[in-house]
């Protein structure tokens, strides 16, 4: 789950990480009590807002008010700006990068820091980034902070302030089940103080059950995707027109790839997961219909999923509500024969080869 900058900064503040003073605004009238100059930043869950004009500086309340009203309503890479964060601008002496994420191969948290802050970390050469693993279960070991302070060339007092921020960041990372916490830039002001001028936070969706306070937060999702999520179904809208329902992320991706190989283009990725609950299958078809695909490709390879239950759901939704586009079904696995029979009875074409099913799907589109 991605956090808006302002939400991330609220949490940062709660953990003792210094952030600029600022207010969240939906119109130019909302700004009060700030010292100038300020920076006005669009709150969208996508990168590249600066390039898109979503960040403006202002030297006076009037200028700031104007900037807010200019940015609100803006379209940034498909996202409408509904809120802006107006913050006192930090006097920048130096910009650093500081982030903690999870290293898959090492199966451990990884701290990364660089003196080349303020630019995309991907564009910083590897030897300009210090990377240190953090022992699982542990606090941030002192040697990591020592190495980091040295690598960044910080003076003693700066090193202490930096270390306090890094420790707070790791506490946040652990306690909030974060996948990524990032400050870029972490600004050293001319007064020698650190401020987190930007804030990025992604938390683990699988851990949401122990973070009720994050539930219902605005997500980087289309309305249909949001609806699917609320129903526990993984649905992603894509650029094409063909709707794919499959069980398992890998199989769904492979099905989309196969469709592309046969000249079609996927419009909806819908992963049923391991479910064989007919109600959930019905829900999946209802969601899929709302996406208005040119044709639906149902690809089930059952393991934990019982094919007959899936087929039962499909049959029921067809009986109850009808489906106005062609459906190509391919089904295989546990209780496969019962499932096939059910689907044939319901009028589907049951194709057994994925390749031929994909060809058929592309043929039947629009």
């Amino acid at each position: 789950m991605k956090f808006h900058e302002y939400k991330a900064k609220e949490l940062f503040g709660a953990y003792g990480i210094p952030v600029p003073r600022g207010v969240l605004a939906t119109s130019g009238k909302d700004i009060e009590g700030l010292d100038y100059p300020v920076v006005v930043k669009a709150q969208v869950l996508i990168g590249g807002r600066k390039k898109a004009g979503g960040v403006k500086f202002a030297d006076s309340p009037e200028e700031a008010s104007r900037a807010v009203d200019e940015i609100i309503g803006m379209d940034i890479r498909g996202y409408e700006v509904r809120q802006v964060l107006v913050e006192e601008a930090a006097e920048i002496s130096k910009e650093y990068y500081l982030g903690i994420t999870i290293d898959r191969e090492e199966r451990a948290p990884l701290l990364m820091t660089s003196a080349e802050g303020g630019v995309e970390i991907e564009s910083v050469p590897d030897d300009k980034i210090l990377k240190r693993h953090i022992p699982p279960f542990s606090v941030l070991p002192p040697y990591v902070l020592r190495d980091a302070s040295k690598f960044l060339g910080l003076a003693k007092e700066e090193g202490k302030a930096f270390s306090a921020i890094a420790r707070a960041m790791f506490r946040l990372f652990e306690k909030e089940d974060a996948e990524l916490v990032e400050i870029n830039p972490l600004v050293l002001t001319s007064k020698g103080e650190f401020v987190a001028v930007d804030a990025k936070l992604m938390s683990d969706d699988s851990a949401l059950y122990r973070h009720k306070e994050f539930q219902g937060m605005e997500q980087d999702l289309t309305p249909l995707e949001r609806e699917a999520e609320s129903k526990g179904i993984a649905l992603i809208q894509l650029d094409g027109d063909i709707g794919v329902i499959a069980n398992g992320a890998g199989l769904t991706m492979a099905t989309l790839d196969m469709i592309s190989l046969k000249g079609g283009k996927g419009g909806v990725f819908l992963d049923l997961g391991g479910t064989d609950d007919p109600e959930k299958v019905k829900e999946a078809f209802r969601l899929m219909k709302k996406a208005k695909p040119s044709v639906i490709f149902l690809n089930i390879f059952g393991g934990i999923t019982r094919c007959d239950s899936v087929a039962q759901g499909v049959k029921e939704v067809l009986d109850e509500e009808g489906i106005d586009v062609a459906v190509v079904a391919r089904i295989k696995g546990v209780h496969e024969d019962e499932a096939k029979q059910l689907l044939r009875d319901a009028g589907f074409v049951a194709v057994s080869s994925l390749e031929r099913a994909a060809e058929e799907t592309v043929r039947l589109r629009g």
């Binding site: 898959r104 451990a108 122990r210 992320a249 199989l251 991706m253 989309l256 080869s353 994925l354």
Partner: protein, 286 residues
């Protein structure tokens, strides 16, 4: 021979009394797996398809000499169930449970490594050595004993590919679903090493997908291997920044694309199939 599980594996199921637990206990027993016990706290004394249920893994191990566990408990309890199995001396733990928080998975893997326990998963279909032992949730019918080792990050996609391998007349030595999460107990390279040592395995199939750099690391390792390796990578058409169904499959910050993986594998001499069924043709051709 085969890797991880065979006819001597003595298996317990943690979460055996649940819906999925009962279903798969039956399927595994039917396949010939020695399911010697189940564990569900508070249900000691019950039986599931004739398998005795214990309150604790320690109790089950003490009574049955189990060496392998399959974990099917809900995600919030998976950390504890894993710690329990590790501490009870289980040597191989197959974690089927999906949506285990990353931070829990890190702790599980750290404790397992500390105690020398092998973990497969989480969020995986399990492990099967055809005609010998199945510790997982995969449909048994598609597997056949043979010489192809399969290691896969995916679930159902694995079945698709295994099915193609079997239909082409080849069989599998062992098929290992390592799981689709970012934090998993055994990665592709670790399983490749096991297959390289296994006398029964002649060639190896990797089923990869977008996200992470596991396939790139595997490619690097394959350069030093004797056995032939084939691969399929799902997600060629996946857009960046979107999680494709589970947390592992995401092209993030320009990393983890199918192109990068396929290029690395090709460079290591691995034939990469364009679609699942093509894998079988490549093996037969190679």
């Amino acid at each position: 021979m085969s890797i991880l599980v065979d006819e001597n594996s003595r298996v317990i199921i943690q979460g055996i009394t649940g819906h999925q637990g009962m279903f798969h206990a039956k399927a595994m027993l039917g396949y010939g797996t020695k399911v010697v016990a189940g564990v569900t706290p508070g249900k000691a004394g019950e039986t599931v398809h004739g398998v005795p249920v214990f309150d604790s893994v320690h109790g089950a191990v003490k009574s049955t000499d189990a060496d392998t566990s399959m974990i099917l408990v809900p995600a919030p309890f998976a950390l504890d169930a894993s710690f329990e199995a590790i501490d009870a001396g289980i040597g191989l733990i197959v974690i089927i449970t999906e949506r285990i928080p990353f931070h829990d998975a890190i702790r599980i893997m750290a404790y397992a490594r500390q105690k020398g326990t092998t973990i497969i998963g989480p969020n995986c279909p399990g492990v099967i050595s055809p005609d010998k032992c199945k510790v997982g949730i995969m449909p048994s019918g598609i597997f056949e004993q043979g010489t192809v080792g399969v290691v896969s990050r995916s679930g159902t996609l694995t079945y698709e590919i295994v099915n193609a391998i079997t239909e082409s007349g080849l069989g599998q030595s062992t098929c290992v679903g390592i799981g689709g999460d970012p934090i998993i107990g055994s990665n592709i390279v670790e399983v490749l090493k096991m297959f390289e040592e296994d006398e029964e395995t002649e060639s190896i199939v990797i089923v990869g997908e977008i996200g992470g750099t596991a396939e790139e690391n595997a490619a690097e390792h394959i350069k030093g291997m004797r056995k032939s390796v084939y691969a399929y990578i799902a997600g060629r058409t996946a857009p960046p920044g979107k999680r494709m169904g589970h947390a592992g499959a995401i092209i993030a910050r320009g990393k983890g694309t199918a192109e990068s993986k396929i290029a690395a594998l090709n460079e290591a001499g691995v034939d990469v199939a364009k679609h699942p069924a093509e894998i079988a043709e490549l093996i037969k051709g190679g």
